[in-house]
């Protein structure tokens, strides 16, 4: 796991940790957003000196607008509370008997989720200070939409097939260079975004892909390959100056904005909350990587992709359910509640892709996940039965 994907700079020395060792109290959902930490409570504001704070309101409006949009992905706080409360409170109470003294279920469920999210982020080593864990999670939820594309359109002359050939090649290069998985997801995101704004000819498509991988590595990796090495990997089709010129071009059109919350982080977070088995997680990672090859998947939010691949993975593997496991799964699913349509579409697409993966020309991912280290998930017999898989999704 790279630790850099979350926040873009090297971690600060964690002097806070000792001072703030006490865990943030399990407060009710309404009291725990970042919003109230960031800005003074409005009532107090108006009582003060007659200062007009226009930008504050603008900011607030925008935040709430984002929250409304995010109903699509299920991150509407009220809704999350309701649904979670309907579904699985009782089982959760069994899971966490020590919390039974809490005043109301409405307050309890989000607190549970908060606690689980914080623990999971900490366990995954994705945070540096637990005090900020919940804020970071809220940031992930809010910002995931920013660099997701509005449509799956490709520039003229390009087809989904061309794109997936390029992505498949990048997956191979990524593997040769021993990069972190985050780097791959970022690289493909940069590629998708660049294709929308840069005019590039088919001839330069490979160069663009390599530059996206190179930039992603600059953001995520500790060790960088030499540019000459990258040119070698492209059979010296392009020169170093060409590559560096493309790098500048991509940075400029993307305005240096390389932030992206990889779906992999959501996947690991959900899997940790849901107490998924290693095999379910590997299968989900395989399916998630397959989604990179699918042109239609670029429009989905990282959280939707993560939720879908976990669902699909569980259904493929059909592990015997346990009460604790089901309760944990229920809590994890409450994070992306409201995305059912998107989840079904993604599951459908990926079930098809997984069933055909071994017959395709673009099979780098299939091969990668057929190794013993990945628990042979790509050759799992459950994947072969297309009809049953598609039946699962309808």
């Amino acid at each position: 796991m790279a630790r850099t994907g979350f926040c873009d700079s090297k971690p600060l020395l964690d002097l806070h940790k000792k001072a703030d060792e006490r865990r943030a109290p399990l407060r009710s959902w309404y009291a725990c957003g970042t919003i109230d930490c960031w800005q003074p409570v409005e009532v107090e504001e108006s009582r003060m000196v007659p200062v007009k704070m226009e930008p504050v309101h603008r900011w607030e409006r925008r935040l709430s607008a984002q929250t409304n949009e995010s109903i699509i992905m299920g991150f509407n706080e009220d809704r999350l509370t309701d649904t979670a409360a309907d579904g699985c409170v009782e089982e959760n109470m069994l899971l966490y008997p020590q919390l039974q003294g809490f005043p109301s279920l409405q307050a309890l469920v989000p607190s549970l989720l908060r606690h689980e999210v914080e623990t999971a982020l900490e366990k995954l080593d994705l945070i540096w200070d637990r005090t900020f864990a919940w804020d970071m999670f809220l940031d992930m939820m809010r910002t995931q939409a920013i660099n997701t594309l509005p449509n799956a359109d490709l520039p003229r002359d390009f087809t989904d097939a061309t794109r997936s050939v390029l992505v498949d090649w990048l997956i191979q290069v990524h593997e040769i260079l021993h990069f972190q998985e985050e780097t791959l997801y970022l690289a493909i995101n940069l590629l998708n975004r660049s294709l929308h704004v840069i005019k590039v000819t088919t001839v330069n498509l490979q160069l663009l892909g390599m530059v996206c991988l190179f930039l992603a590595a600059k953001k995520e990796e500790c060790l960088l390959p030499e540019v000459s090495g990258l040119c070698y990997l492209m059979d010296h089709t392009y020169t170093k100056p060409q590559l560096l010129r493309m790098e500048r071009k991509v940075l400029l059109v993307l305005k240096f904005d390389l932030s992206y919350c990889p779906p992999l982080h959501f996947l690991l977070l959900l899997a940790s909350i849901a107490r998924c088995s290693a095999k379910v997680v590997w299968m989900a990672r395989y399916l998630l990587e397959l989604s990179l090859l699918e042109g239609q998947c670029v429009v989905f939010l990282p959280l939707q992709l993560a939720g879908s691949v976990l669902c699909l993975s569980r259904q493929i593997l059909q592990e015997p359910p346990t009460p604790e496991g089901e309760a944990a799964w229920c809590l994890a699913s409450s994070v992306h509640v409201g995305s059912e349509t998107a989840v079904l579409r993604i599951m459908h697409t990926l079930a098809g892709a997984a069933a055909k993966a071994h017959t395709r020309e673009t099979c780098a991912t299939f091969i990668k996940f057929s190794s013993p280290e990945t628990m042979y998930v790509s050759v799992h017999p459950g994947l072969k039965n297309i009809a049953a898989l598609l039946g699962v999704c309808t």
Partner: protein, 302 residues
């Protein structure tokens, strides 16, 4: 894009020859707005733009997405190739006419109203809490890079730049004021986000005094001035990884902070002491400071 930059932003004046290079006030010819241009020349080697620049600018861009009210807007980033070895990266910020230094200078003779100071401090803390929760330290907080709009809105500026600059301009003789530096930086020990809390504490005191709290002339002198106020810390609070020994300093007892900041009220003084705590681990964090009784106190407003 090279000409794009110079066409879109028309320099109007030089504002402050900052420690790290010249800052220009310019007009955005598309919107008519004023902006502040800060450029850094980056050496491009065999591997193109350096990792540090790519990461830092990406981080600033990421923060921008949150549109936080107490952080100055980064409106644009341009990169111009100057030669094969050098690229100029220009950061285009919103322009705010007044910084806290000027704001304090222009305050009426009676000083700022306690309610005004409380409001400024709250905004300052909100901005800091935001930066810190995103793992960004400012590292060079001082009245000059805290901007105050004509509506009284506080905006932190120049955060995160310290690292971009220090990576590439190590050879430039840099004069940075010592007055807002915490003991751990003066002692060259390891430091993190609590540095900004110390600086904010100094600034908090300065809002009442309208002159800096600790005006040292060298690192040791600065530390001496600090210890005259907060007293000499115990042996176990003194960092172990530093060359300057505790024995260098006379054994001093802490003096009441109100001797130095007489206008401050009781709750304000308590918060100030939590911020001017020698040990960075015991210093209050920005998030906790926001929940401090000082900010809940309504009497300050009257």
């Amino acid at each position: 894009m090279a000409h794009g930059t110079s066409l879109q932003y028309e320099p109007v004046a030089e504002i402050g020859g900052g420690a790290y290079g010249t800052v220009y006030k310019a007009r955005d010819t598309e919107s008519g707005q004023f902006v502040a241009l800060k450029s850094v020349r980056v050496q491009t080697d065999q591997n193109g733009l350096p990792i540090s620049t790519v990461r830092e600018v990406a981080l600033l861009k990421r923060l921008e997405q949150f549109d936080h009210p107490n952080v100055v807007r980064l409106m644009d980033v341009c990169a111009t190739q100057r030669s094969d070895q050098e690229t100029k990266v220009t950061l285009v910020f919103e322009h705010v006419d007044q910084d806290l230094k000027t704001y304090l200078e222009r305050a009426p003779d009676a000083g700022l109203a306690p309610g005004r100071i409380q409001d400024l401090m709250r905004q300052l803390m909100c901005g800091l809490a935001f930066l810190h929760s995103n793992r960004v330290m400012h590292r060079d907080l001082k009245p000059e890079n805290i901007l105050v709009t004509s509506q009284g809105q506080v905006k932190l500026a120049d955060f995160g730049l310290a690292r971009i600059y220090s990576c590439h301009m190590a050879l430039t003789p840099v004069v940075v004021t010592l007055w807002y530096r915490p003991p751990e930086v003066l002692l060259q020990s390891s430091y993190a986000t609590p540095v900004d809390i110390w600086s904010t504490g100094c600034i908090f005191a300065e809002m009442f005094r309208r002159k800096p709290l600790f005006c040292g002339e060298s690192e040791v002198d600065q530390l001496g001035k600090i210890l005259q106020v907060i007293g000499l810390p115990s042996e176990d609070e003194w960092p172990t990884d530093v060359s300057l020994s505790r024995k260098h300093f006379p054994s001093l007892l802490p003096r009441p902070i109100t001797d130095f900041v007489p206008e401050i009220n009781e709750l304000g003084a308590q918060l100030l002491l939590k911020m001017l705590t020698f040990d960075p681990l015991k210093r209050i964090s920005a998030l906790n400071a926001l929940e401090d009784a000082y900010f809940q106190d309504e009497e300050t407003l009257t």
